[in-house]
Amino acid sequence: MTSAPSPATGLIGRDNFPHRHLVGIANLAPHEIRFLLDEAEQWASLNRSGSRKHDGRLAGLTQMNAFFENSTRTLLSFEVAGKRLGADVVNMHAAQSSVKKGETLIDTAVTLNSMRADVMVIRHMSSGAVQLIADKVDCPVLNAGDGRHEHPTQALLDALTIRRRKGSFEGLIVTICGDILHSRVARSNMLCLTALGAQVRVCAPPTLMPPAVERYRVTPFHDFNEALDGADVVMMLRIQNERMDGAFIPSAREFHALYGLTPERLKRAKPDAIIMHPGPMNRGVEIVSSVADDPQRSAITEQVEMGVAVRMACLDVLTRSARGVPGWA
């Protein structure tokens, strides 16, 4: 909170994170990602500090969460994050908005902007929609997931979780398995983890693998057993029910047979490998309960916890300029 250089990066103030919005990991340099993770640590500590988990630095600021696509946990996480920092948090759900009446996305954005939001958190079902809004409004915009494109705070919270468990990313083997094609979580994580130095493997049936995925500098696998060999981190993705009706994969049970994470399969990973899942889980499909609930190896609840910390860090950093924090003007 001063204009002294950051101990980790040696950079001063805004140089640590010279972005107005957080639309995707693709726009971030590795040191900018590390800066956000470092910033999140203090909030992880605060959130564990007992009953009064509060910091008033966003007091008087209005945080608008505009969710054009249904969400429970991400919306809640952003709401908790904003409130712990003292912001006035309001939520707009698509189901109860004029979006249903045919208002265009731009008109909705302009309306929210006219209400003088100080920061907007947007989720939308269309890739690129958040960028479109960011270009149109006067306040910082945080992408809470746009189509299949990006979900940057999920990647950041995953990175923070991994860093706290594993110490660093260098040489770490991370296996991401599931519906890579339709997943913004997978895209943001591929960008984030490779930028931080991890070796990333992605595993999916051929029908759920994005074209040219190797251009992310990840190694694609169709065989889950091979993909698990020697992995330090196993990240399972949720598979949507509508993908399992024969359009992309024949059935849930066939998917489970090939790609379900079971204790047997997990033996191929390193003995200290951790298990991650962005939630909500389809227990018995991509992951079995004994693995998901393994107290030693499952980091799934910690991901949720780090989600609040990372979102607090993002809300704080993105509003520093408007709040006149020294070095961030």
Binding site: S126, S127, Q131, G147, P210, V213, R215
Partner: protein, 407 residues
């Protein structure tokens, strides 16, 4: 009857090998003489020094009748796609659409192949022909049912009408807004492999062979697609194809940052296919260069990429971008005008697109070197949705004559 003499011009006859110097004499609605002609007394004289005199551009496949844009572009005739509201699938609508441009330019409405362009029931092709439809078109989409397409081809063939098809397999490209590749994956856009084009073209060629019908693939954009067209032509089938400057000068990287002005149908392809498209224009595989003119305002374009309408306001950039190919030595001026006028006229069966005695005096004067900058905010078109915004270009139409009258 009025006489006009265009003197000191470089004459661009699409059927000739090169430009020739000379005078062109217009009498009434037609070209009266060409070459070393004496200017008759009383003729109005236009000194075209430095200019190229060419047939007016015939734009095969526009989505909107856009008079200011066509005037800027040097387009004297445009074939209007049936994808209108309502769909051009019955004779009254064809007649109405044909009246839109006259006298400044002529609109040739293309009759829908199937009712509502839904790909199921044959539309009234004979009645539409009688009402002025010069060709039958499947519109923006491919007819998925091969049985229906075969019947369309047979029926149209008996009426001596070419069938203009869209070359993308409908199943593979359903909901896709981009071509498979790194850009689409990184942006999280639903995409389809480029072979969706070859699959569609291969089937339609097979059906055209079966029906003995004329087939024109409006936009071919991939190396595999051009290979099929080449083979069909070598076999002697009556198969022709077109492409548009977007596929010559842009690849799929142009959609980075979710630029909806670069959302096209078919979608932009990779660099290899872009180079193959230039090659196919240069080697004669491509018969037609068209703009696909489809002006779209912010209500259609300022949307998330997948929700935005495809298409560009392409009329104004058609000629300067075609001239790029001339300047790069890929094609001659006369070949350019074959692509822009003579070939589309032949495909549609129009008495136009020629620089010959007795041909209609549909002419343009082209200033081939005139530099200008494409500016989406200042276009003549009904909307400025161009992926070529801020591009410096050279060459534009300076004068348009339709039916012997300067417009």
């Amino acid at each position: 009857m009025g006489l006009t003499a265009i003197i000191n011009a470089r004459l661009c006859d699409p059927s000739a090998g090169a430009l020739s110097e000379g005078t062109l004499l217009v009498e009434g609605e037609r070209i009266a003489a060409i070459g070393a002609v004496d200017v008759p007394s009383g003729a109005e004289v236009i000194d075209a020094r430095g200019m190229i005199v060419a047939p007016g551009i015939i734009d095969l496949g526009v989505f909107r009748t856009d008079k200011p844009a066509f005037h800027f572009a040097g387009i004297t005739r445009a074939a209007l796609m049936p994808d209108q509201s309502p769909v051009l699938d019955e004779p009254g609508l064809i007649q109405h659409a044909a009246r839109a441009g006259k006298p400044d330019f002529w609109v040739h409405p293309l009759g829908a192949a199937t009712r509502g362009l839904e790909g199921r029931e044959l539309a009234e092709m004979a009645l539409m022909k009688a009402a002025g439809a010069r060709a039958i078109a499947t519109g923006r989409s491919w007819i998925a049912d091969s049985g229906v397409m075969l019947r369309v081809l047979r029926y149209a063939s008996a009426l001596d009408r070419v069938v203009i098809t869209h070359g993308e397999d409908g199943g593979m490209t359903a909901n896709a807004v981009a071509t498979d590749g790194e850009t689409a994956s990184r942006l999280g856009l639903q995409s389809a492999p480029s072979c969706a084009e070859a699959i569609a073209i291969a089937r339609d060629i097979a059906l055209a062979r079966e029906a003995g019908a004329r087939l024109h693939v409006r936009l071919v954009t991939t190396a595999a697609g051009f290979a099929l067209i080449r083979t069909a032509k070598a076999e002697g089938l009556k198969v022709t194809c077109g492409t548009s400057p977007s596929y010559l000068f842009l690849n799929d990287a142009a959609v980075s940052d979710f630029r909806t002005f670069a959302r096209l149908s078919p979608p932009l392809r990779d660099e290899r296919d872009r180079l193959a498209t230039i090659e196919a224009v240069a080697d004669g595989t491509v018969d037609v260069l068209c703009s696909g003119h489809d002006p779209r305002g912010p209500e259609d374009k300022r949307l998330p990429f997948a929700d935005a309408a495809p298409g560009i306001a392409g009329a104004e950039t058609l000629l300067p971008l075609a001239l790029n190919l001339v300047r790069e030595g890929k094609i001659s001026e006369t070949r350019m005008m074959a692509l822009l006028a003579a070939n589309p006229a032949a495909i549609l069966g129009l008495d136009a697109g020629r620089l010959a005695v007795d041909a209609p005096a549909d002419l343009i004067l082209i200033d081939p070197d005139k530099p200008w900058i494409v500016d989406s905010a200042k276009m003549a078109a009904a909307a400025g949705n161009t992926p070529f915004d801020k591009l410096p270009v050279q060459g534009r139409a300076r004068m348009i004559m339709k039916g012997g009258v300067i417009r």
